[in-house]
């Protein structure tokens, strides 16, 4: 963002850059920078809270009054506890012959479709794997956990992007099953730590590392600190 701020200012437009990482916005020094200590992915802070979002915008646009480069800090932080997890039901077993993760993903399809309607598909599957093909994509990662070399497992695209579609499928389904905006990361933690497919993705990540897959191929299957 800060690079664009420098470039745009040089082209004759005034900019205000929001930033969630203090050291980053300090080191890149945009002409007008507002550090908002909010979770990554939520630069306006609180989904579904127009009043709060307007407070952020007011603080941002106030920097336009400065006559020189300026850095400011928003007056309210939104800390991430690091352990808040969505309380979200999972479907019962339906097909005993299917892998639990595959069966689970099929069972979430109706919720996913509702979630897509609710969210206008903003964060859903479909980058490289359509919703219909999510169970098959999960099967490719199951094969890796069972010993198939990752490059021969049939992952239907770049692993990080396939993984992102699977995660988005689950988190979009979760959105339809709760009646509020999830706390930041709460639905990701639910996916990785509570679901059968989350277990598969974590295990596949370990297996790919052990198979000495190139680091970007396994590292970005999940958030980086996992």
């Amino acid at each position: 963002m800060s690079t664009l701020a420098h470039v745009f200012e040089a082209e004759g437009m005034a900019t205000v850059a929001l930033g969630s990482i203090r050291k980053q916005i300090e080191s890149t020094a945009p002409p007008r920078g507002l550090w908002c200590d909010f979770p990554l992915g939520r630069p306006l802070g609180k989904p579904g809270d127009p009043e709060f979002q307007h407070r952020v915008l007011a603080a941002a646009f106030a920097l336009l009054d400065s006559t020189e480069p300026v850095f400011a800090e928003f007056d309210e932080a939104i800390p991430d506890s690091g352990d808040e997890m969505l309380a979200c039901p999972l479907p019962p077993r339906h097909d005993p012959d299917a892998h639990p993760a595959v069966d689970e993903s099929r069972g979430l399809r109706a919720a996913y479709d509702r979630g897509v309607k609710m969210s206008n598909g903003r964060f859903g599957a479909g980058r490289v794997v359509a919703a219909d093909d999510i169970p098959a994509a999960i099967e490719s990662f199951i094969r890796i956990t069972e010993g198939t070399p990752w490059a021969e497992a049939g992952i239907p695209g770049m692993p990080m992007r396939v993984s992102h579609d699977i995660r988005s499928y689950y988190e979009t389904a979760a959105l339809a099953m709760v009646d509020h905006a999830p706390a930041a990361w709460a639905s990701t933690r639910w996916f990785l730590d509570q679901t059968e497919t989350g277990k598969v993705m974590m295990a596949a990540r370990v297996a790919m590392q052990e198979q000495e897959a190139p680091q970007p191929m396994w590292f970005y299957l999940t958030p980086g600190d996992r």
């Binding site: 745009f8 437009m13 990482i21 203090r22 050291k23 939520r42 480069p69 206008n120 992007r161």
Partner: protein, 154 residues
């Protein structure tokens, strides 16, 4: 279920805060017209695009034009290191177009631009954006009469 180490937003910020930053010898600075007379656009690094546009590839340094009269924005950001549920629940968490419309209705900003712009963040080499697609995007925005740009990350 055995509990493993859960992710924390602070851990991910710590991982990414040291990414190399481009060095600008001077800080360009433009004085805008009064906000109540300015045309305001949003430019986000959230890899937003319309479903009928090309998705962002990994390390895509280009930009997409976002039509402000539509609301079908999807994120193609490849990084797993951000929460997506906030944007899924409310687009204004990342792309506060409804909020800008409200500010314009109140007369606090002059006009909301008809079109906005998205790039892909989390780039390891910013030279192309600095030298090519950034200036090209800036030129396009200026041609739309944009005075002020709100930059939002993910």
């Amino acid at each position: 279920m055995e509990e493993t180490h859960l992710m924390a937003d602070s851990d991910i910020k710590t991982m990414t805060e040291g990414l190399p930053a481009p060095d600008f010898e001077t800080t360009a600075f433009t004085t805008p017209p009064p906000l109540s007379e300015a045309t305001v656009a949003i430019v986000t690094s959230a890899s937003l695009h319309h479903p009928d546009q090309d998705d962002f590839e990994v390390m895509d340094t280009g930009y997409r034009i976002l039509d402000g009269s539509r609301r079908d924005y999807v994120t193609g950001h490849w990084s797993p290191n951000f929460d997506g549920a906030g944007f899924a629940y409310d687009m204004n968490t990342v792309f506060p177009l409804d909020r800008l419309d409200e500010l314009a209705e109140r007369g606090l900003i002059g006009r909301v631009a008809d079109q906005h712009m998205a790039y892909a963040g989390n780039q390891f080499d910013l030279s192309t954006i600095q030298m090519d697609s950034g200036p090209a995007g800036a030129k396009w925005l200026r041609e739309q009469g944009v005075d002020v740009v709100l930059l939002t990350p993910v």
